[in-house]
Each structure stands twice: as structure tokens, then as C-alpha cells.
Symmetry: C2
Subunit: 355 residues, 2 copies
């Protein structure tokens, strides 16, 4: 039996209910900018051990809540756990980012991908979710997440990160049916994975479409948004007698917010390259908006950070449905004290505005 | 006395005049995907020697015209010649991209930047322009270019390429007046540089704002577009009794096309993340549009390339003012034969459509 939720600002804001002040959390809030994270990371030895050891994943998930007045926790994990569990063998080469030992090279490779039981091969994630939920003890809601089918496919086909996406786009243009088969498999896996996270205790969900923004509008709809739609349609949307809100985030997707809203999701992550006034106009109050301070604003002085926080709050303006966040993950070299300035400023300015 | 221009499709399209077929050229058309380029590059020893030796720069500028039915030549050079001439000492570390030995670190560094006489410290560029123009012998028009003030500033302050632009954005947020001083100096230098290129023989100009798209809409206007406006206002717009069209290109700037049009430029470069239908609607025929095939489409099969070319032409649709191009520079690992397929398809489909 999980403890009652003491701070539900985040969930209420995502339901576009009135809130006393704007809730705030930060993408990658558990991460390398925190010395206490680096300590646990070192102790774990390697990144995947950290992800796959529930006690350690729980510890780093909770770290930022000790430092900052945040309104949500997000599961510490990696977006590439699914393809790893499918057998592509994820590893992290020093200073090079994620790689797969067995990338997808052909239709046969796609056909051979196994279907996943997330409670089996991704049991470590579910155990982490349950443990974090228990340890949170109702302090704030827990966000579960996954990468989008397209974003997973980019890594699966490229074998790692990419600058020009030559292989996956080569497939997209020359052999779209193989790519669609892969995306469909990913969408099924993500749906099951997120539903298992909810069953394990996640109270809200987010789908990170980090690379949807490298597609043309037409290809975005066909190869990314269509499969996020499939996921949204297949998600359990209630748990513990309460709505489990779903947030979609396509980086550099500011032009497609209206189409994303049509999926029936509850909220959209918005990066800083679109003004929240325009995002609001595009979405017409049909979804909540989460964002959108430029993460590099945290490299500025404390005074400038306060100014920029105010600008973001003002750009959203009146009315419900805003969750404050950065427009992308917090950068590795940011001074944690600067994040505290940001979080405190959200508390200060939004409470005034709403009082 | 320069030879009369035999193919002026490009200049006419940029003036939104009727043309027999859609002109086509390709960003970075002289570059590493061409074996004949790699040969000259090797012969030159290092990249800057290639840029700064007019005979070699001329040779590689003309190479793609021998292979493909292109309607414009673009000066082979680097966007960082200006800060190099200002004394920042550009160099290329193997596999690491451009770097500066003496990056901008303070207000004093900005104040100390010398003003440039492009016919003195950048004489090698003007000599290349004159030589290329002569060797072109009227075949197609020659495009001169520069980086935008903001894009130059990112490299000058970061000391090279960057993922998060921590230093230049730190300056933007904490010390905007220093950044404005730098941008103003860059704008003056770029204006003089481009005017000198026109005097040396350039028949059209392009300003590459590679990194304007990493800014918020407000910051884009203040820190990038404002200085491109300053340049457009200061350019000589006629030479040899003919208009010298100016094209602005902000990568990931699809949301700002209307504001960019207001500068009074003649054309806008458009990347593939916006549909040309929407770009046309945003600019209302006030400028020509240049683009916008996804460069990674060239990794697809010849059949798929032809399909994608047709889609781009159809998305622009009827009416004057389209120059076919990729939405960004051609990638290093593209098969040159695939570019030939693209160029030939533009000739074939656009001539049919216009007949």
C-alpha cells in the first residue's frame, strides 16, 4: 500500500486544474551535474550497473529532491533499456555515448527482434520504480518514461548516436516498410514497458522523442508521431483511482504541437525555440505545457536566471496547465546552485502571480 | 572585363522572375564527398592552405560544375576566415573541427578586436573570387558568402564548435552588452567582407546562420537577426548593372521566416523541417525560397531520391521564386552519383512542370 500523495501540484497542472503555484521539475535532474550523483556513479562502476541496480537507481532518483524544491521525481534509467533487452547489447564507450554491439542491419534483424515481457527482461526497471515509489513515501509523484519508437530506432539502426542519421534515413527513404516494422515493434514494446511501470508505481508518464525534430513534417507524422499515437492509445490511463497523465516531448518539434495534441496526450514538453505564447495558441488549452527555459540559461548569473524564469512564466501567462521545466535536459557542467536559484524563482514568482 | 552570363536562372529565380525550370545548386557542393576534391585537399596539405591559395580554391569551386548540371557556383572558403583575420588564429585539429587558439574571453578581448580591411587581411579570398569569376567565364553566377555575426560569435567565444554553447550563452544571459559589442563588430566586418566579394566579382550573396536556431525566438531577434538586418542594410545590392541578390539562411529557423523576410533580403534558405507550402505561406511571395531536400535523402536509393525531389518541387508548387537545394550542406559520405540523380531529377521534373 503506497502512501498518500502529499504534493500533487504536478498531476493537477497536467490535468489543467488550478494550482497554487507552478510546479517545477527538471529533465535529467538526477545526473552528472550533481557531485553526489557522480559519487554513486563511481561506486556503481559503470552506467548500466547504476541503471540496473534498483537500490542505486532509487538513491540517485531521490538525490535532487534533497537539494531542490521539486514537484516530481523521475525514474533514473536510460531510454535504451528496451533495445538492450531485445538483445542489441547496449554499452557505453568512454566519452562516446551509447552504442549497440548488434545494431539492426536488415529486415531479417527486425523480424528476429523478440517481443518483450517487461516484467521479465526489464524487471530491474520495475523493481526500481516500486522501490522509488515506496521511498518517496508520497512526497511528490513519480514519473516513468521511455524513448519514442523513432528515437529508439535511430540508435538501433545507427548503432549509437549520429550526426546525419545516414543509416536510419537511408532505410526510411529506400526501405520504409522495414522501418515501419521496426517502429511497430518498438511501439508495442514501449506500450507494454510503460504500462508495466504504471503497474509498478509510476504516477505519470513521459515519452522522449529526442530525434523527431530531424525529420521533415511529413516524415515526422509517418515515422514518429504515428507510433506515439499507437502508444497513447494503448496506455493504461488511470491507477490508484487517479489519472496517469502522459506527456509527449519532441525536441525541435515546436511546429507540430497541434498534431501532437491530437494524439490525446495530457501534456507536451516544449523546448525554448518556441515561445510559450505561441505554443499555447497552437494547443488552445487542450493539453498542459511543460517547459521551456533554455538549459544554457543556467550558465548565466543568478540575477539573469531569475530574469529568465520570470520571462518564461510571463510567456505562459494566466490560466492553468503549466509545468515549469528546462527545454531539454540539464547540462553536465551547470553549477547546482544555479538550479536552486531557478527552482526558488519559480516558487517565488509563480506563487505571487497566482495569489 | 568579365564574360556575359550564359545561365542566369539562379539570379532570375531569386528575383522571383519566371524561369524555364527550377535552378539547382547544393550547399557544400565543393567538398569531401567528391574524390577529386579529396585529391586537391591532400595536395594542399591542410584545409586553410586550400582556402587561402586562390588557384586551389578556384579549382575545387569548379569541380562540381564538371560533374553536375548546376546553376550556380559558390566560392570555396570557410565561414571562420573573418575571426581568423581578426587574430583569433583558426586551426583544424584532426577530426575535431575548427578551433581558435585565442578565443574571446572578456570584454577587453572584444574591445581589442581590430577592424578589418578585407582587401588587405582577406586578400586571398578576394583573389579567389576574381579568379573563379574569370574561370567561370559566364557559365553560371558566382555566390559569395559569410557566416552570420551570431554564428561567428559562437565559435569565437566557445573557441570552436559546441554542443551546449555554454560560454556564448553564459555571455548572452549574464553580459549581453559585451556580446552586442562583439556582434556589432562582426556585422561591420561581414558587411565589408561581402561588399569586397561583390567588388571582386561575386554575383549573389548568402549569409549562413548555422546556429541561430539554438536561440529562443526573442534572443534570435536580438542576437542574430538584428545583426543580419544591419548587414543587409549595408550591402551593395547592384553590380555590373544587375541586382546582387542576398539570401539569408538560419538552420532550424523555419518559425522565423516572416521576420527574416522583413530584413529586405531577396531569398531565404529553408531546411527540411518546414514544408515549403508553409514557408511560402509565411513569406507571401515577398522573397524567393531556396531548399529544402533533407540531405540524408541522398543516402536513399536513386528511385527514392527521384520521388523526394518531386515532393519538394510539388510542395513549392506553382509560381516563381524557387531555387532547389538541400536543406543543409551535403554530407561527407554521400555517393556523388546520388547527387547526379537529384540534379537530373530537378531538371527533368521542373522543366515538365513549367512547360
Amino acid at each position: 500500500m503506497n502512501a498518500e500523495l502529499k504534493n500533487d501540484l504536478y498531476l493537477r497542472a497536467l490535468s489543467c486544474e488550478d494550482v497554487e503555484r507552478t510546479p517545477v521539475w527538471v529533465m535529467r535532474q538526477a545526473g552528472r551535474y550533481l557531485p553526489e550523483y557522480l559519487k554513486v556513479r563511481k561506486q556503481a562502476g559503470d552506467f548500466m550497473t547504476l541503471c540496473s541496480t534498483p537500490e542505486l537507481a532509487c538513491e540517485v532518483t531521490l538525490q535532487p529532491l534533497e537539494r531542490f524544491k521539486l514537484d516530481a521525481a523521475i525514474l533514473f534509467s536510460d531510454i535504451l533499456t528496451i533495445p538492450d533487452a531485445m538483445g542489441l547489447e547496449l554499452y557505453f564507450a568512454a566519452g562516446e555515448g551509447p552504442k549497440f554491439k548488434k545494431p539492426i542491419k536488415s529486415r531479417a534483424d527486425v523480424t528476429a527482434l523478440p517481443s518483450l515481457d517487461p516484467n521479465d527482461s526489464l524487471r530491474y526497471v520495475m523493481d526500481a520504480v516500486s522501490l522509488i515509489r515506496k521511498e518517496l513515501n508520497g512526497r511528490v509523484p513519480l514519473i516513468g518514461f521511455s524513448g519514442s519508437p523513432w528515437t529508439l530506432a535511430t540508435y538501433m539502426v545507427e548503432g549509437g548516436g549520429s550526426k546525419d542519421f545516414s543509416k536510419v534515413k537511408g532505410m526510411l527513404f529506400s526501405d520504409p516498410s522495414t522501418l515501419h516494422e521496426l517502429l511497430n515493434k518498438n511501439a508495442i514494446a514501449v506500450t507494454n514497458y510503460l504500462n508495466a511501470q504504471v503497474a509498478a508505481g509510476a504516477q505519470s508518464l513521459m515519452i522522449f522523442d529526442t530525434w523527431g525534430g530531424v525529420l521533415s513534417p511529413e516524415n515526422y507524422k509517418q515515422f514518429s508521431l504515428q507510433y506515439m499515437q499507437q502508444i497513447v492509445d494503448g496506455l493504461v490511463r488511470n491507477a490508484d483511482g487517479r489519472k496517469v497523465p502522459v506527456v509527449l516531448f519532441t525536441k525541435n518539434g515546436g511546429r507540430w504541437l497541434s498534431d501532437m495534441t491530437d494524439t490525446g496526450c495530457d501534456g507536451l514538453g516544449v523546448d525554448w525555440t518556441i515561445d510559450l505564447r505561441d505554443a499555447k495558441a497552437a494547443t488552445q488549452g487542450r493539453v498542459a505545457l511543460q517547459g521551456n527555459l533554455d538549459p544554457s540559461a543556467l550558465y548565466g548569473s543568478p540575477e539573469s536566471i531569475r530574469t529568465e524564469v520570470k520571462k518564461v512564466l510571463d510567456s505562459f501567462g494566466e490560466g492553468p496547465g503549466h509545468v515549469f521545466n528546462l527545454g531539454h535536459g540539464i547540462h553536465q557542467f551547470v553549477n547546482p546552485d544555479h538550479l536552486a536559484v531557478m527552482v526558488d524563482a519559480v516558487h517565488e514568482f509563480s506563487a505571487v502571480a497566482k495569489s
